[in-house]
């Protein structure tokens, strides 16, 4: 078995992903893991969440409570008697997600106990606590005393802290550090000696545990607290108000760090200060909290004033702004790389998954290039010389040509016969496309002519389509739209053209838009029967640019053309089972899909490929009438998509790629697209 790089799943103690296909099953069994962590059915112990009424504690009580519901595990929340009711506030969200009946069941399984912080309630013993998730305030001694108290009563209990920054070596217990918003965010940064059954159970429950090294603060916190600090330093230097800096940070990197702090609430500045304070003590001045942050830590004052701003600000010097914001961010990134805090794909993805980074931080730096990134940090150091005194490791950027840097989102493995391409980003962008091309190149160099392409079974839990921020330049420049559509389509066509057999496996909750178009190019498509598939472009509206307007038609019988039209013109998604036979080739359970994909790719299953019509296609039959779209933008999108279908089907396959790209790019510059979802998000994000 060979791979371009280590898969992220391997950092959790599992084997390469290709083994999942070979074995025809996932590498864990949730029932076994539940038994291991909580005891066998009929004798289950409890999950105890201390600080259960806090933001973290209550959020995680909901998240874990809903996922563990089928396993009859009592969820005990422990908090002070006068703690505000954080759990009750979660109910409405729970109801909205699961419906009243299930929400009531989840809540009825949560047992709220009070304690005084010094002694445990007698009732706790009756629930046989097996696993403590500690979410009490960030005071080291308080936490340690809490562990002692729990262990004194329950010597076998497994303890994990959700701490916002203390390392395991200080706490003396393992860490499960979750990301905001806690009731829904699946990411947990994990620190433990070796991957434990608890961590595997999180993965089995559909959550995303990420192993990181035992250092002060976490990868996400370094990045998010770091960019918050950078924004406040920028204010200190140039006086630009916080609200405007926030907008420019969003345009440049993605998040609004200051708005996010205000949204999270008064405690957010304390946590950020705490994180930065400890980092500054350990690593130096680049992390030193500004007086404005210290002030807000003490006062709870918001960054945005309740009075709306009166004077607008423009950006006089983009480079100066870059140096104030990206300089420290790149320097902090050099630290986490130097300390090898995690797999590079984690470090890259976590900002995107948890902090609204438009791109992963490493992909972002990679696009800048090492020389430019270093120059930005050095320019920042000219303005803030104290930051240059420690914790700056420019050498780490010299490794950008290694597979770990080059394949942040896309990995490839093979066993000498069958290749596997895994994508860990939920939406397509240039980075994914470029990495996909490199992965295909590698497999071809390795002599592999059968391939499975799928999600990574870890960071990516769905395939939501194209990253529409990549279309922003195309809103005003048709050539840029054409370049996106043509080059992305060319990459997708390689799955059809360059392999004897290619199998697209939709292994997550959904596959939409650009990702669906990518999968369409495979000779076979397989999907979990619970997955929803669709082409929602018309609702944005945009014209699908990766051959979605003709490829599926060329691969199905004329009797099904109407179904393809429906998919494209309504934008509604459908269950995988409903499109079996004309859009996809097989839908089934995880195990069935794994086996089917492997059988097809390894040649053991001789199911014939659906034929791809390479000549022009006649569309005279089966085009259904559509009910009114209900809004003019979608109506314009329908017309444009319909025109694209006709034009791209009217030419041979060899020409269709350019025809579709032109239609897609042409529509992108129209008022309908500019007024739609993409134009709207462009204005919100870029027209600062």
């Amino acid at each position: 078995m060979k791979s371009m790089r280590q898969s992220t799943l391997q950092t959790l103690g599992f084997k390469p992903i290709i083994d999942i296909f070979k074995n025809g099953r996932m590498p864990f069994d949730i029932d076994e893991l539940v038994d291991e962590v909580f005891g066998p059915a009929g004798n289950r112990g409890a999950l105890v969440i201390s600080g259960g009424n806090g933001i973290v504690g209550s959020g995680k009580a909901m998240q874990l409570g809903s996922r563990l519901l089928p396993y009859d595990i009592p969820i005990i929340t422990l908090d002070l008697p006068n703690a505000p009711d954080g759990l009750g506030q979660q109910y409405s969200g729970l109801k909205a997600s699961f419906g009243a009946k299930t929400a009531d069941e989840i809540m009825s399984n949560i047992i709220r106990l009070s304690y005084n912080g010094a002694s445990l309630p007698k009732a706790l013993k009756g629930y046989k606590p097996r696993f403590l998730l500690e979410a009490i305030p960030e005071i080291l001694q308080l936490k340690k005393s809490h562990y002692e108290m729990m262990r004194a009563h329950f010597s076998e209990i497994e303890i994990r802290s959700v701490t916002s920054g203390f390392p395991m070596k200080e706490l003396g217990v393992g860490i499960l550090h979750p990301s905001f918003p806690h009731q829904i965010n699946k990411i947990w940064e994990v620190i433990e000696e070796k991957p434990s059954p608890i961590t595997h159970l999180l993965l089995a429950l559909g959550l995303i545990p990420i192993p990181v090294s035992d250092n002060w603060s976490f990868v996400l916190d370094v990045l998010f607290c770091g960019i918050t600090l950078a924004a406040t330093r920028c204010n200190q230097a140039v006086n630009m108000p916080y609200w405007k800096i926030d907008k420019y940070v969003r345009r440049l990197v993605g998040p609004n760090p200051l708005r996010a702090h205000d949204v999270i609430g008064p405690g957010a500045c304390f946590l950020t200060w705490s994180c930065l304070h400890h980092l500054a003590e350990t690593y130096g001045e680049v992390f030193r909290p500004t007086p404005e942050l210290v002030r807000r830590k003490n006062s709870g004052e918001t960054w945005y004033s309740s009075d709306r701003p009166v004077v607008d600000w423009d950006m006089d010097d983009e480079e100066e702004f870059e140096s104030w914001v990206l300089g420290p961010l790149f320097q902090m990134t050099s630290l986490i790389l130097h300390e090898q805090r995690a797999h590079l794909s984690y470090m890259n993805a976590i900002g995107e998954l948890c902090a609204q980074f438009t791109k992963g931080i490493l992909a972002f730096i990679r696009n800048y290039g090492a020389d430019r990134a270093i120059a930005i940090v050095e320019k920042y150091h000219q303005k803030h010389p104290a930051a240059a005194q420690s914790c700056w490791y420019p050498d780490v950027f010299a490794k950008m040509d290694t597979p770990e840097w080059e394949q942040l989102y896309v990995n490839a493995e093979h066993d000498g016969q069958v290749g596997l391409i895994t994508i860990s980003r939920e939406s397509l962008n240039w980075d994914v496309i470029n990495e996909l091309n490199r992965a295909i190149d590698w497999l071809k160099r390795e002599g592999i002519d059968s391939v499975i392409i799928t999600g990574d079974f870890h960071l990516s839990t769905q395939m939501v389509g194209a990253d529409t921020t990549e279309f922003f330049p195309a809103l005003s420049d048709e050539n840029k739209g054409y370049k996106v559509a043509l080059n992305w389509s060319k990459a997708a066509r390689r799955l059809n053209d360059e392999f004897k057999t290619s199998v697209g496996f939709i292994n997550g909750k959904r596959c939409l838009g650009g990702m669906m178009e990518l999968m369409m190019h495979c000779h076979y498509i397989i999907a979990l029967d619970s997955a929803r598939l669709g082409m929602p472009e018309v609702t944005l509206p945009v014209v699908p640019g990766m051959e979605g307007c003709h490829w599926a038609i060329r691969k199905t019988d004329p009797a099904n053309y109407g179904k393809v039209f429906n998919l494209l013109l309504t934008g509604k998604s459908v269950k995988a089972k409903e499109v079996e036979g004309w859009l996809i080739d097989f839908a089934g359970s995880m195990e069935d899909c794994l086996k089917k994909a492997w059988a097809l790719a390894s040649g053991k299953d001789s199911t014939p490929k659906r034929k791809l019509t390479e000549s022009a296609v006649k569309l005279s039959a089966g085009i259904p009438d559509q009910p009114p779209a209900g809004n003019p933008l979608m109506e314009a999108g329908r017309k444009a998509i319909f025109d694209c279908i006709k034009a791209s089907c009217a030419v041979p396959l060899s020409q269709a790629i350019e025809v579709q790209a032109k239609h897609s790019a042409g529509f992108m510059t129209t008022k309908s697209c500019q007024k739609g979802v993409i134009g709207g998000s462009y204005k919100k994000m870029m027209a600062v």
Binding site: P241, V311, D314
Partner: protein, 415 residues
């Protein structure tokens, strides 16, 4: 140059750390729609941002304005809150003397040793000025409603109790100007020539780009964060192509014409007063030092406001031993051309040599910030001429005149 010791030897004005908004005439700009205090505070951050001065350098805020604004009770602490800092500070008000008075008091603050970098922030909005309702048991209605601009400009209560008839308009500012012109037997044609010359000075300075050193265009946002317009000009400045146009204007009172008087406007201006060390650190040219030499105030006879500054200057010269010949730049806050004409007549001073880059008679009169802009223009002009003394003076409601002398030393220049 005669040497005179500064009144506050520990206080310095760092060169170039100043500026403000243009002064649009009232109701001609988006400023009419916003909380002027918030605009001023944000404008201060904006100006200092353009000048490369971090607000974090300030440790005190001295502010001034004359027209009530939302949250005025909270004064300077509110203003610094509005630009994101929490500074202590005072707020003062003295009609059109406010601006200069704040600078003087800021220097006193530094001299006292309590603070080392004092921001000066002055502003006013005449547009949409508020009305106040006051209990007044001495009147028939037992309540007074005062429109802050209109009613106060039309009636000076102290002057009004010295025999002038309010109903005939004798207590208004214009009446003061006319009355003073008659007292000094000013020649209408000379006043017209003076006013015409002032316009040419302003036009010339604006065309040369000199004003752009300290006037900053700003974009104004509405409550939704949408741009509602720009404040990028002294809108309301009249266009005169010839002296005859002035001479043809109807007299509103003796020697007072539309072109020979100021107009209401809105705006803000800011600067810094600091210790010597901090001033050198913050200065845009550390070779230039600027200090306040002395200041004076004078209250003239009721209803003769335009001659008050002349007497303030007289006192100042007597006290310092300086003469007008010692002045490199002379700048007058002149709501009326009459003011300059009286000053020139009393001192036998050539009015052509004053107000080289403009004056409030031309660009408008938002009260609070007016004399700070005048001061900045005077200091810039003095620096341009190689250093020396700058005489700055102006009148204020209540028949008051204020004057101050600043010394500009340029180590490369003449003084």
């Amino acid at each position: 140059m005669k040497e005179v010791s500064p009144v506050y030897p520990k206080a310095f004005i760092p060169y170039g750390t100043w500026g403000g908004s243009w002064f649009p005439a009232w109701h001609t700009s988006p400023l009419a729609e916003v909380n002027i205090a918030k605009f001023a505070a944000e404008g201060m951050a904006f100006v200092f941002g353009k000048k490369g001065i971090p607000l974090s350098e300030l440790d005190y805020l001295a502010s001034g304005s004359t027209i009530p604004w939302l949250y005025k009770f909270w004064a300077s602490p509110y203003l610094s809150h509005s630009f994101g800092k929490r500074l202590p500070g005072f707020h003062i008000e003295q009609a059109c003397a406010t601006g200069l008075q704040v600078v003087i008091k800021a220097a006193a603050q530094v001299q006292s040793g309590s603070h080392s970098v004092v921001g000066v922030l002055t502003f006013d909005k005449t547009s949409n000025s508020p009305a106040g309702v006051f209990p007044n048991y001495g009147t028939y209605r037992r309540t007074e409603v005062i429109s802050d601009i209109w009613d106060n400009f039309g009636y000076d209560p102290s002057t009004g109790q010295t025999g002038f008839n309010q109903a005939k308009g004798e207590t208004s500012m214009i009446a003061c100007a006319g009355r003073a012109a008659r007292k000094y037997k000013l020649d209408k044609n000379e006043v017209a020539e003076l006013a015409h010359h002032r316009y040419q000075q302003y036009y010339s300075a604006k065309e040369s780009g000199k004003l752009n050193k300290f006037l900053f265009p700003m974009t104004i946002l509405d409550v939704r964060g949408q741009k509602i317009g720009e404040v990028d000009d002294d809108t309301g400045v009249r266009k005169y192509n010839s002296l005859d146009q002035f001479k043809a204007e109807r007299e509103l009172d003796t020697c007072v014409t539309a072109g020979g008087q100021t107009h209401a406007s809105d705006g803000m201006f800011t600067m810094i007063v600091a210790t010597e060390e901090k001033a050198r650190e913050l200065s845009k040219n550390p070779e230039i030092t600027i200090q306040l030499i002395a200041a004076a105030e004078y209250r003239t006879e009721p209803g003769f406001m335009p001659d008050a500054p002349t007497y303030a200057v007289k006192q100042l010269l007597e006290r310092t031993g300086l003469t007008m010949d010692d002045m490199t730049a002379v700048y007058d806050h002149n709501p009326f051309a009459v003011n300059d004409a009286i000053f020139a007549k009393v001192f036998n001073y050539d009015w052509h040599k004053m107000n080289d880059t403009g004056c409030p008679m031309i660009y408008g009169h938002p009260q609070g910030p007016t004399l700070v802009r005048v001061t900045v223009e005077a200091l810039e002009r003095t620096v341009e001429l190689g250093g020396g003394y700058a005489m700055i003076f102006g009148c204020a409601a209540g028949d008051v005149g204020i004057a101050a002398i600043f010394k500009v030393t340029d180590s490369k220049g003449r003084s």
